[in-house]
Symmetry: C2
Subunit: 335 residues, 2 copies
Amino acid sequence: MGEFELIERFFKTPAQTQAKAQLTTIALGIGDDCALIQPAPGTQIAISSDMLVEGRHFFADVDPNALGHKALAVNLSDLAAMGAEPLGFTLALALPPERARDEAWLAAFSGGLLALANAHHCPLIGGDTTAGPLNLCITVFGQLPVGQALRRDGAHAGDDIWVSGTLGDARLALGVLRGEWMLPPDVMAAARQRLERPTPRLALGVALRGMASACADVSDGLAGDLGHILKASSVGAEIEASMGAHLTAAGAFPSLAGGRFHSETLLQLALTGGDDYELVFTAPAAARRAVQSAAERATTPVTRVGRIVEQPGLRLIEANGQPTPLEARAFDHFD
Amino acid sequence: MGEFELIERFFKTPAQTQAKAQLTTIALGIGDDCALIQPAPGTQIAISSDMLVEGRHFFADVDPNALGHKALAVNLSDLAAMGAEPLGFTLALALPPERARDEAWLAAFSGGLLALANAHHCPLIGGDTTAGPLNLCITVFGQLPVGQALRRDGAHAGDDIWVSGTLGDARLALGVLRGEWMLPPDVMAAARQRLERPTPRLALGVALRGMASACADVSDGLAGDLGHILKASSVGAEIEASMGAHLTAAGAFPSLAGGRFHSETLLQLALTGGDDYELVFTAPAAARRAVQSAAERATTPVTRVGRIVEQPGLRLIEANGQPTPLEARAFDHFD
C-alpha cells in the first residue's frame, strides 16, 4: 500500500468533522505542499508537537484504537493548557512494514485518532508517512484571542493552586502492566482507562481564560509540571499532604482500602506519577467561586490543592501544619 | 543529559535569529505548553511536516551537520513551493541513548540545523525530545498574503512548465553511496552536495507569487511531482526529451562524457531520481519574460522544459517531434 492509498483509506477526515471544523480558518488541507490556516482577526495560533515512540510511550501490544486516541489526546492537552480551541493537526507516521500491511491495526488506530478529532472538530490537515520503527509525531494547532493565552509565568503569591480531574491513576495502571504491583480488578479497569484514554481538558482551558493566572498540563506528575509554573513565575508553592487520597480516582474505591496504596502512596502517585493530562492552574483566591462555576460550565471537576507563596520551592503541608520540602519526604521510590 | 538541558545546550535559537525573526508574529516560543503565532492581518499560515528516519532517509554515518541542514531544508522546500516566507519550526527528535550522550554529534547536528534556520530568520519555537530509534520530525510554519499561495491545481493547457536549478544529481550521488555505480570525483563532489545540502528555493517561491499558475517541490522526481500538478489541475504535459543533459548539474561536467551517463540516463535521473528540492511550476506563455526576471531577482536559475496540454498524462517529445507516453519509454530501472 502506497502512502497516498494509506492516507485515502485510513486517514481521510470524516465529512462531519470537515463540516464542523472552522473551515474559514483551514483554507487548504491535505493534498498540496503545505496546509493553509487563516486565523480569524484578533486571534493567535497555538502550536504543540509530541512524539510517541513504541516501547517508550506505549507497549507494542497496546490496543491500536486507544493508541490513536492517546496520540492526539496528549497534544490536545497542550492546547487545553493554553486555553486554545483546536483547529486541526498534522500526523507524521513511521510504520514498520508489518504494520503498514496490517489493515486491522491501521483501521483501529485511525478509528481511535479520528473519533477524538471528530469530537473536537479538529481535522487532519497534513503530515507525512514513511517506513521505519513505529513512531507517531502529531503537531496540533489551536486558536485563541490575542492576549488570553494561559501561560506558565503569571502565578502570584497568594494564588490558589487547582487541579482538574484525578492524578496518579495512569501510573497506578502502568505499575500493573509492568508487573510492579497488583490492583483489584475494578480499580485496574478505571486506572487503565486513565492511562490509555486520557481526556484533554479543552472546555476547562477555554473557561479559565481571563481567570487562571497560570496553567500547565500534567504530563510528568504534579510536582514536575507545577514546578514549571513556579520556575516561570519565580514563586513557590505549598500543597496539602492530606490531598493524596482525594487526588486519585483509585482512592475512592473501597476495594483499595487497607493495602499498600494508602494516602501517602496515593499522594506520591499524584505528585510524580505522570501521564495524567489534567490541568494544574493558579488563580487569585478572590476568584474561587468563579473558578468553580467555570469548572461547572466545562463539566470538569476541579480540586483546590494548595497555594502559591513567595518562597521558592515546593513544600508539603503536613497534618500538623508544618511545611516539608518535597525532596525531604521519604517516599518509596517506584520510578 | 535531560530534555531541558539538551534543548538549552544545543537547540537554543541564536540571538541573531531571534532578532531578525518576525517577532511580532512569534508571540511565544519554547518554554510553555504551546508556541504562539500571531499572523499579520491579511496573511495565511502555511504548514508542512516531514519525518526523517535513519536508514531510510539518511545513512547512520551521515555527516550530522549535513543531516541538520537537510532535515530543515526539505521542510523549507515545501514552504517555497507554496510561495510562503518562513516564520519558525518545531522539532520532535527521538534519539537513541548513544546519540543523546554524543555531544559532538549533537553539536554538529544542531549546528547544521540552526545555521540554515538563521539564514532564513526561522527560529525553533517548540517541539519534543524523547528516547527511541533516531527519528527527526520537523513541522515548519510560513506566512503568505491571503489568496497568493502557489497551489497545485491551477495549471492550464498552454502554460509553460519550468524547473529551478538542476534535477537528478542527488540520485546520482546516492547511487555511488549505495555501490550502484561510480562517478568521477569532481562530479561526485558536486552531486553529493546536492544530496546532502539541498537548497530550499524560498526566494523563487516568493518571486513567483501571482505569476506561477501551479507549483510543487521536486522531492520524488520531476515525473512524480509534476504528476501531482497534472492530477490536481486535470491536465497533461509534454516534456522535451532533449532536456536530459541540461537538467542535471552532472551533465555539464566534461569528466562525465562518454560513460553510462549519457543524455538518456540523465533524463531518467531528472524524471525519477528525486531528493532534489527544486521547484517545478507552470506559468502562462505570455509570462515568460516575467518568470525570467523573477528568477533573476531570486538569483535562482530556471529552465523551461515543456508545456501543459489538455490531454491527460505525461509524454516525452522525442528529437523527431513525436510524443511518447512516459510509461512506454524503455528506461533502465535503477530504483
